[in-house]
């Protein structure tokens, strides 16, 4: 008998670890699907398996809680059952000895309270009231509802122009999205249950880069109706495109010198090369959209447009910067991220040669300005963030990209003030080191650590703590706003202003490109309806028949990036597209949820909208 022994993984433990990993993947891709009550019951049952059995609330409580949840599912429950369920979960939370029990109790409590309506629906109707959003998971996850399995099958067949055509049925900016979409679709991809989710954005980019020929969409008979679109960003462009296809005359009024909105004035060229952006905008204009740049629209101007046009779509985005509210913020050398990216967007790159730059913020825009600063010659770039890197809202790939290019991330430092010299020039950022704590509004909140203030010496400070909407003048003319964002009805119409519709960042607050695109699409449909028409945007591509291939394992092809040391010297695209070999392998991995699974029953695609 050994007094001590080295821990070894038994064969069973290897299997156990594999199952845990598979379960994690499964859960990661299926959040759109389940019935809330089914899910809660399964969750409790899973927690039950982890109980060691020592303590009453966990050993017995989780069991009876699961039985009660089954009663709801088997239509044996009434209102009293729901009260009992809540009391049971609460007792487990309050009195369990270890996290296995009290965490299970609390999660159950969260579910029961959060899903209260769903529980009651089950009890009263003996049916689940949760909306069935799980038709095709990737499509359900895409705000614009792009026919993803459809275009992937076209890429697999080598029909790239058709793939782009199909995408443009729901999203007129496939080139842009192929480069910068945040791809919420991939988060839901069912292939993730097998090995890795599909590289959907990569396939979209590949299709756009390999179109066999250009084409023009069919345009409906002119209706004689004129629609003014205020703002030439993704929402405005999308609305104008679909309105044009529907036969209406759409005119964009853009306040800046170029169209594109945040695509140009927010996203740096190394992520969205200008020739790609210009090409896509040019293609859209070629469909018959009229655009007037350098044409800011103020409140009076908006009233004029509403009088002159049959309908107006208001999509001015969120382009004003937020202030830190710190001493020294107005010093020379402090620039807002919005200001800097706008200047770069108009082709004027600031010169930071030899300078040390501090970036304040932890979102994607902070990464964008940090990486742009390097490209503008900065000697050193420090990203100052008051939480941990793990708490940053920027995408992981953006943070990693910034770090790879040489940006320092100073986490857990809250800026206190901007240090200046006698002439008022920035000399540094004074920070207070932080310690991370419990959650506040969903994210761990930092507080001042018992440590001395710290100075980050620098000649420039870039403030990237978010953007706001310049809605004040419009609010003053009576347009309803809530915390600066335009308020609209379900159909994007602005209440109280007949014929005025609004959407995009100015309505949602700063959001993603694909959400803005969808806002434009939704507005186009509702404006068409408002104008008294029922034009349909239809599927005009034949799709290849589906083949069942059986389960084969094949990991995901990722897009590679140019070497950091090379790319940091220019504004050219950082990311390399998939090769043809990679794209075809990747496309063949698609499980075709439009044809198999629930898609087979409810129809895998929306043929027109």
């Amino acid at each position: 008998m050994a007094r001590l022994h080295v821990m070894e993984r038994s064969d069973a433990q290897v299997v156990m670890d594999g199952l845990h990993e598979a379960l994690g993947k499964r859960m990661a891709v299926s959040s759109l699907a389940p019935c809330p009550v089914e899910f809660t019951a399964a969750y409790v049952e899973m927690c039950k398996t982890q109980s060691c059995g020592k303590c009453t609330p966990c050993r017995v409580g989780l069991g009876v809680l699961h039985d009660l949840l089954e009663d709801v599912l088997e239509n044996r429950a009434d209102e009293e059952t729901l009260t009992l369920i809540e009391r049971t979960a609460e007792t487990i939370y309050l009195s369990a000895d270890c996290a296995i029990g009290y965490e299970a109790g609390q999660m159950a409590l969260t579910a029961i309270r959060g899903f209260r309506d769903d529980f009651e629906h089950h009890v009263q109707k003996h049916a689940c009231g949760f909306t069935q959003s799980q038709l095709v998971p990737c499509v359900s996850g895409c705000p614009a509802g792009v026919d993803i399995p459809g275009y992937i099958s076209l890429v697999e067949e080598g029909r790239y122009t058709d793939a782009v055509r199909l995408i443009r049925k729901d999203n007129p900016l496939p080139v842009v999205c192929g480069l910068v979409c945040e791809h919420p679709c991939e988060m839901h991809c069912r292939r993730g249950m097998v090995d890795d989710p599909m590289n959907i954005r990569g396939l979209k980019r590949f299709a756009c880069e390999h179109m066999e020929t250009d084409y023009r969409p069919g345009v409906a008979e002119p209706t004689g109706k004129r629609v003014a679109v205020v703002g030439g960003g993704p929402a405005g462009l999308s609305a104008a495109y679909y309105l044009t296809l529907m036969g209406h005359k759409a005119t964009i009024f853009e306040s800046r010198h170029h169209l594109g909105g945040m695509l140009r004035y927010g996203i740096p060229a190394y992520r969205l090369p200008r020739e790609e952006l210009d090409g896509e905008i040019g293609w859209l204009l070629g469909c018959g959209i009229e655009a007037s740049v350098d044409s800011p629209v103020d409140a009076e101007g908006l009233e004029r447009l509403m009088a002159d046009y049959d309908s107006v779509y208001f999509a001015i985005g969120a382009h004003t910067d937020r202030k830190l509210g710190l001493e020294g913020e107005d010093s020379e050398g402090v620039i807002s991220a919005v200001q800097m990216l706008r200047s770069i967007g108009d082709g004027v790159n600031p010169d930071f040669t030899g300078q040390r730059v501090s970036v304040i913020g932890g979102g994607n825009v902070a990464m964008d300005v940090a990486r742009s600063a390097l490209r503008c010659g900065a000697e050193k770039v420090t990203i100052i963030y008051r939480r941990r890197i793990a708490d940053m809202t920027a995408q992981d790939a953006e943070i990693a990209g910034a770090q790879a290019e040489g940006c320092e991330v100073l986490e857990l430092h809250a800026p206190l003030s901007i240090q200046t010299d006698d002439a008022g020039h920035v000399t540094g950022v004074i920070t207070q080191p932080q310690i991370i704590g419990g959650p506040q509004r969903g994210r761990p909140a930092p507080r001042a650590a018992e440590a001395d203030q710290y100075v980050v010496p620098c000649e420039r400070v870039l403030v990237a703590i978010g953007q706001a909407i310049d809605s004040k003048p419009f609010e003053d003319m009576g347009i309803p706003c809530k915390r600066g964002a335009i308020v609209v009805d379900e159909d994007s119409a602005v209440p109280g202003f007949t014929g005025l519709f609004a959407g995009g960042d100015c309505q949602t607050g700063p959001a993603t490109v694909i959400r803005a695109i969808n806002a434009g699409k939704v507005a186009a449909a509702n404006i068409d309806h408002h104008l008294g028409f029922d034009h349909k945007i239809t599927l005009d591509v034949d799709l290849p028949p589906v083949q069942f291939k059986g389960k084969t394992l094949c990991a995901r092809c990722e897009m590679t990036e140019r070497e950091a040391a090379e790319r940091v010297r220019d504004f050219d695209n950082v990311e390399n597209g998939l090769t043809s070999e990679e794209a075809h392998q990747e496309a063949s991995r698609c499980l075709r949820c439009d044809h198999f699974g629930f898609g087979a029953f409810r129809g895998g695609r929306i043929e027109q909208w």
């Binding site: 089914e38 109707k125 003996h126 689940c128 009231g129 589906v546 083949q547 059986g550 044809h595």
Partner: protein
């Protein structure tokens, strides 16, 4: 073309053919359960799985396509085991009390389980015991539902109604009334298509046979039965009779010994419907020049499923629906008035039964205002063809050996125009034949209006009626009706007169007809009806001598006050659940 091997046989089929169809073309049968061609090719039951060389998992043959060089095995040990286990899974949630099931002997699950040699079940049984309103004409028993989802598909895709849905998820997934509503609170048209497309006994009509047996046994009751036109094209199917054998006269012989006192033909009241409806149409045309509240097209009203549909979905069009009652209800009203007088009996003693290929008629006869003759319901009980076939079986009558016998008089006389009421286009054609006569006074060629025949879901025709151009349309299947209405409302089309029947192909394909899983028999049965019309001596409703007598002796003339009271109805007099507020 694609070449592949199925069970060692070379098969060549066009591209985009499913494995199931490719096998069928070579005479290889792959069993199915949820599959319904074009309507439900969803690979849900996994009974049709086959083995495809090179793929470890089994492939559903109903929704996977053939590929060049594919090697398929439809009955390998792997397939056989999976197929059997899947059926055992289904049986573990199925109430297999076949001895007390209306579909016993005509159940796809029963046949399949027997074929696969399942004699015991390895799994515990779990039945849901869902409650159901047993007074509703349509009965759902979820203990027999196998979740093939066909009822959802047919209701939604073919009938544009969408009563059914999957109402729970995961292992609790079940098919039930959408949103957990009570069935009587829905817009269910009672077309019964979900029943005729159900592979098991999960859906059926409310069984009213005991009420009829009780009445037959009651010496105080005078039991009278009417037989709808389309019944004669289908009633003999479950007995294995050919159409030549299964005549309506043989059905009369089967019913007579049950104790019915009088056996009549709904063809009579179909002719009566034509007299009223054609006159109503011509009256509306005439009045329209003075009264611009009269809108066209006028819609037929003989199909209660359609009436339920339009009341639920398009109540704004209800005034355009003819006020004429359905032939069933006209018959009932005449029976308990005119015929009671002829017999010299108290109409309250008459027990009025009708045999219909239809479920909606069960609800129609129970409407609160269908009691115009004597205050009692004009029709007491409606039996579907399936119910009357069950009654015949309960009598242990050898139908094949029965001699034919005649209907009773005078309400047993119908014309060919009445017979074709049972097929899509038939009401329109019958109406036009008589309308022509009403306008011109001449006798039309009975085949002059045959352009509206055929199984297309939406047909159009233009006729010249003594100088007046008449645009007519005929739709069957409520999905087609909905499309027609959409086109009317958007101004794409415009008609004067429109016939709608709720069931695809008309009553020949009615929801109360015998069930043959996977087969659509409306066309074949419709052909029987058109054939009967063709050989009829009388093919024009106004020439029916019993109709002539009925007007002479009782009703005076079409649209007379008496006719209005007995033969017409106020379509607004009752409400569908969601009709108000629309």
């Amino acid at each position: 073309m694609v070449k592949l091997t199925i069970d060692d046989r070379e098969v060549e089929v066009p591209e985009h053919t499913t494995i199931l169809e490719a096998a069928a073309s070579a005479g290889i049968v792959i069993p199915t359960l949820c599959y319904l061609k074009d309507l439900n090719e969803i690979g849900a039951c996994r009974v049709c799985v086959v083995e495809v060389e090179g793929i470890d998992q089994l492939v559903a043959s109903c929704n996977n396509y053939v590929l060049d060089g594919m090697v398929v095995r439809t009955n390998s040990p792997k397939v056989r085991a999976a197929r059997k286990t899947n059926v055992e899974f289904i049986l573990s949630q199925h109430d297999s009390e076949c001895t007390s099931c209306v579909r016993s002997g005509n159940c796809s699950l029963q046949t399949l389980a027997n074929d696969l040699g399942i004699s015991s079940l390895p799994y515990e049984k779990h039945l849901s015991h869902d409650a159901w309103d047993q007074s509703f004409p349509l009965i759902r028993n979820n203990d027999k539902c196998i979740k093939c989802l066909r009822c959802i598909q047919v209701c939604e895709k073919v009938q544009s109604t969408g009563v059914w849905d999957i109402t729970n998820r995961a292992s609790h997934a079940c098919v039930n009334v959408k949103s957990g509503l009570d069935i009587s609170a829905t817009d269910c048209a009672l077309c019964g298509q979900c029943i005729t497309h159900c592979p098991t006994g999960a859906l059926r009509e409310r069984d009213d046979t005991d009420r009829v047996f009780d009445a037959l046994a009651d010496p105080d009751k005078i039991c009278v039965v009417q037989i709808a036109p389309a019944v004669r094209a289908a009633w003999g199917e479950p007995f294995g009779l050919t159409h030549e054998q299964a005549t309506v006269k043989r059905l009369v012989s089967a019913l007579r010994p049950m104790g019915f006192d009088y056996i009549f033909d709904t063809d009579f009241s179909a002719d009566l419907t034509i007299m009223e409806e054609a006159s109503e149409f011509l009256e509306r045309v005439g009045a329209a020049s003075k009264d611009d509240s009269i809108r066209f097209p006028m819609f037929t009203s003989c199909c209660p499923g359609w009436v339920r549909f339009i009341k639920s979905h398009h109540p704004e069009l209800l005034d355009q629906v003819s006020t004429s009652k359905s032939p069933q209800q006209m018959f009932g009203a005449i029976l308990k008035s005119y015929y009671a007088e002829l017999l010299g009996v108290d109409p309250h003693r008459i027990f009025s039964v009708s045999i219909m290929p239809c479920l909606a008629k069960k609800s129609e006869c129970a409407l609160p205002n269908m009691n115009d003759a004597c205050g009692d319901p004009d029709v007491d009980v409606v039996l579907t063809v399936r119910e009357v076939d069950r009654m015949i079986r309960a009598e242990h009558v050898d139908v094949a050996s029965l001699e034919e016998s005649e209907f009773d008089m005078p309400l047993g006389v119908g014309t060919g125009a009445g017979v074709i009421f049972g097929a899509t286009g038939g009401v329109m054609e019958a109406a036009l034949r008589s309308a022509y006569h009403f306008i011109t006074g001449d006798e039309p060629d009975p085949d002059a209006f045959s352009d509206v025949r055929g199984l297309d879901g939406w047909k159009e025709a233009t006729f010249d009626l003594a100088g007046t151009t008449l645009h007519v349309a005929v739709a069957s299947g409520l999905g087609n009706a909905e499309r027609l209405i959409q086109a009317l409302e958007s101004g794409e089309v415009s008609y004067d007169f429109v016939e709608i029947m709720a069931c695809p192909g008309g009553c020949a394909g009615g929801g109360g007809q015998p069930i043959h899983d996977g087969q659509e028999l409306a066309g074949e049965r419709g052909d029987v009806l058109w054939g009967l019309d063709k050989v009829s001596d009388l093919r024009l409703s106004y020439q029916n001598p019993s109709i002539v007598a009925c007007y002479d002796e009782y009703l005076e003339k079409p649209l007379s006050a008496k006719a209005e009271r007995l033969l017409h109805t106020d379509q607004h007099a009752w409400l569908m659940p969601d009709e108000e507020g629309k």
